[in-house]
C-alpha cells in the first residue's frame, strides 16, 4: 500500500472571461509515494504543486485520472481522519484565538474535552505559539498564522501530512523550527508530503523528490541518488592573484567571480581541474581551496526544469552576481 498514489492525474482550469480557454494546470501526473519519510514536490511558480495537493484533499476535482491516499480513493473522505493538511497561505477565523480554533478542529475529530485540551497545549508548544494564547488570529503575523496552520494540520495526529509551502512567511528561526518539526514527524514514522520551490529546504529535508514543471512530472528520485551523481567540475579559489593569473583563470574557467581579495573560479571537468591547479601552483598562485563541485539538487532541478543554459556552478547563498563568462 502506498501513502499516495496518483494515476494520470490531470486538471484543466478554465481561464479567460469571455472565451473559456482550458488551462492545463496538471498533466497526467502519475506518482507513488512510499509510507514513511519525507517527500518533496518541487517546481517553479505555477508548476501545479498546489493544484496537486488540492486535488488530493478534494478541494478541486481532477479532470482526468485517479488517486489514492493510504490505499483509499480520494473520493472517500473518511481517509481524512488519518490526514493533515496545511493549505497554501492559510487563513483562519478572525475572531478565534489559536487555542479556540484548535479546539474546534479537535472537536470535529470527536476528541473528548481532556484529550482536546492536552493536544492543543502540546501542539501550541510544538509550533511555538504557547505564549500567544489570548491573541485573536486576526492579529497574528504571517509567520504566526503559518504556525497555527501547521498546528491544525497535526491536530488529529495524522499518519500522512500534506504541507503546501510550510516554510513560507517564516523567519530563519521559524524555518529551522519547522524543519526540525518535520524531521521529528518522520522520526515518529509519519509520511510527510510537502511542496516547495525553495530547493535548500528540500535538499536538507527530503528523502525523495518529484519535480513538477508546467503540470508535468519532470523528475523523480531519491535525494541520495540525485546528490551522488558524478562530479562534473571543480572550484578553485585564489587569494591576491596577479592580473596575469586572472587572465589565465578567465581563459580556463567556465566562470570567474571576484569577491574582495579572492577570485573564485569553476573549472569544468573537460578542462581537467587537476592540471589547471598545477598550472596555478607553478606560477606561484596562492591557492586557498580546491573543491570538487558536487551536484546539487539545484543542478538537477535546473536540468529538469530546463532553465536557460547555465554552467554548473558552486551552490552558494550568494549568487555570483558579478559572474563573468568567457
Amino acid at each position: 500500500m502506498w501513502a499516495v498514489e496518483t494515476i494520470g492525474l490531470t486538471k484543466d482550469y478554465s481561464a479567460g472571461f469571455w472565451r473559456k480557454r482550458p488551462l492545463r494546470a496538471l498533466d497526467g501526473l502519475s506518482l507513488r509515494v512510499e509510507k514513511g519519510g519525507i517527500f518533496g514536490l518541487l517546481g517553479p511558480n505555477g508548476a501545479g504543486k498546489t493544484t496537486t495537493l488540492k486535488i488530493l484533499l478534494r478541494l478541486v476535482f481532477p479532470t482526468a485520472g485517479s488517486a489514492q491516499l493510504l490505499g483509499r480513493d480520494i473520493r472517500d473522505i473518511s481517509v481524512h481522519r488519518l490526514i493533515g493538511y496545511l493549505p497554501e497561505n492559510p487563513y483562519f477565523y478572525d475572531h478565534l484565538t489559536a487555542p479556540e480554533f484548535l479546539n474546534y478542529m479537535a472537536e470535529i475529530f470527536g476528541m473528548g474535552r481532556d484529550a482536546r485540551c492536552r493536544r492543543v497545549g502540546t501542539l501550541l508548544e510544538r509550533v511555538g505559539l504557547a505564549s500567544f494564547q489570548k491573541l485573536p488570529l486576526r492579529k497574528f503575523s504571517k509567520g504566526m498564522t503559518q504556525r497555527a496552520g501547521i498546528a491544525q494540520a497535526l491536530i488529529n495526529d495524522p499518519e500522512l501530512i500534506f504541507l503546501d509551502e510550510p516554510m513560507s512567511g517564516l523567519d530563519p528561526l521559524g524555518r529551522r523550527e519547522v524543519r526540525d518539526l518535520i524531521l521529528g514527524l518522520r522520526e515518529e514514522g509519519k509520511t510527510i508530503f510537502f511542496s516547495t520551490h525553495i530547493l535548500g529546504d528540500a535538499e536538507t529535508l527530503c528523502d525523495r523528490v518529484a519535480i513538477l514543471h508546467r503540470g508535468r512530472l519532470e523528475g523523480l528520485g531519491g535525494m541520495q541518488e540525485i546528490l551522488s551523481r558524478e562530479v562534473s567540475s571543480a572550484e578553485i579559489v585564489l587569494e591576491h592573484p596577479s592580473p596575469e593569473l586572472v587572465e589565465l583563470a578567465k581563459s580556463l574557467a567556465s566562470s570567474v567571480v571576484r569577491t574582495g581579495e579572492r577570485v573564485r573560479m569553476v573549472i569544468p571537468e573537460a578542462a581537467q581541474p587537476e592540471r589547471v591547479l598545477a598550472q596555478f601552483l607553478e606560477r606561484g598562485a596562492k591557492v586557498v581551496s580546491f573543491n570538487e563541485v558536487r551536484n546539487s539538487l539545484e543542478d538537477y532541478f535546473m536540468e529538469r526544469v530546463g532553465s536557460p543554459a547555465r554552467a554548473p556552478d558552486v551552490r552558494s547563498a550568494h549568487p555570483p552576481a558579478g559572474g563573468e563568462n568567457p
Binding site: 488540492k54 484533499l57 478541494l59 493533515g84 493538511y85 492559510p90 470535529i108 475529530f109 491544525q152
Partner: protein, 261 residues
C-alpha cells in the same frame, strides 16, 4: 464520531461565530429603539395606541430580523468560501452536506435567539403601554412565530445563493427573492392580465418556484386583536419545513459540485 455530532459541532461553532458579529447587536438595538419609538407615536392618539405599537413593533422585528437573516446567512457561508477558512474544515473528515446543514442550524439558532430578544422588548413595551397582559396578547407571539418561519426560509435562500455565487451577489439575490416573494400573487395577476403567453408562463413559474412570503403576514391580524387561524399556523409550518428542506438540499447539491480554486 458520527455525522450528527459533526453537524452539531459545526452548528455550535457557527452560532458562536455569529454571536460575535457586532452588526447583529446594532440591528437588535435598532429594532428595540423603533419599538420604543412606537410607544411615543402611540401616545399621540390614545385609542389606537396599542394597535400602533403592535403594528410598528412586529414590523420592525420583521425588517431587522430579515436584515440579520440575510447578513449572517450570506456572511457566514459565502465569506467562509471566499476567505478559504473552509479549506481547514473540508480537509477534515467532514462531508460537505454536514458542513451546510451544520451552518444552517447554527444560523437558525442565532436568529431564534435574536428574535426572542426583540420579542421580549416588544412585550416589555406592550406592558408599559397597557400595564397588563390579556389573553389576546398571545396573538402577537403567533405572528412572531410566523415571522420566524420566514427568517428560516430566508437563511436557506441565503445559504443556497452563497453556495453558487459571491457574497455580495448572494445578499442581493436573497433580498430580491424576499421582495418578490411578498408580491407573488400580484405578479401572477400581472402575468395573467398582461396578455403575453410568455409572460404568463414566466410569472406562473415564479409563483410556484419562489417562496410565498405573503402567506406569513399576520401583523395586521395581530394588531387588530383578531385570532390567527390554526390551520394557517400549521400549513405555514409545513410549508416552511418543506421549503427549507428543498433549499438546504439544493445548497448541498451545489456545494458538492463546487470547487475551491
Amino acid at each position: 464520531m458520527n455525522s450528527i455530532s459533526r453537524v452539531a459541532t459545526i452548528a455550535v461553532h457557527s452560532f458562536k461565530e455569529s454571536v460575535r458579529e457586532k452588526v447583529l447587536y446594532n440591528l437588535v438595538g435598532f429594532a428595540l429603539l423603533l419599538i420604543a419609538a412606537a410607544i411615543l407615536f402611540g401616545s399621540i392618539s390614545v385609542g389606537i395606541q396599542k394597535t400602533i405599537l403592535i403594528n410598528l413593533g412586529l414590523s420592525s422585528i420583521s425588517v431587522f430580523g430579515l436584515l440579520m437573516a440575510i447578513f449572517i446567512g450570506v456572511g457566514l457561508v459565502a465569506k467562509e468560501i471566499e476567505r478559504r477558512t473552509l479549506y481547514n474544515i473540508l480537509s477534515k473528515p467532514v462531508a460537505r452536506a454536514e458542513f451546510i446543514v451544520g451552518k444552517y442550524l447554527g444560523l437558525l439558532v442565532t436568529l431564534v435567539i435574536n428574535t426572542a430578544i426583540m420579542a421580549l422588548g416588544f412585550y416589555a413595551a406592550l406592558y408599559y403601554v397597557t400595564r397588563q397582559f390579556v389573553r389576546a396578547d398571545a396573538i402577537a407571539l403567533e405572528a412572531i412565530y410566523l415571522i420566524l418561519l420566514q427568517f428560516a426560509i430566508v437563511v436557506g435562500v441565503a445559504i443556497f445563493f452563497s453556495c453558487i455565487s459571491t457574497p455580495v451577489l448572494s445578499a442581493v439575490f436573497t433580498f430580491c427573492v424576499y421582495v418578490i416573494g411578498n408580491y407573488l400573487a400580484d405578479i401572477r395577476w400581472f402575468g395573467r392580465e398582461n396578455g403575453s403567453v410568455l409572460m404568463e408562463k414566466l410569472t406562473h413559474a415564479l409563483y410556484f418556484l419562489l417562496p410565498n412570503f405573503a402567506n406569513f403576514q399576520a401583523t395586521s391580524l395581530a394588531a387588530h386583536g383578531m385570532r390567527i387561524p390554526g390551520y394557517l399556523l400549521v400549513s405555514d409550518s409545513l410549508y416552511a419545513l418543506l421549503y427549507v428542506t428543498v433549499l438546504v438540499s439544493a445548497a448541498v447539491l451545489a456545494f458538492e459540485e463546487r470547487e475551491f480554486k
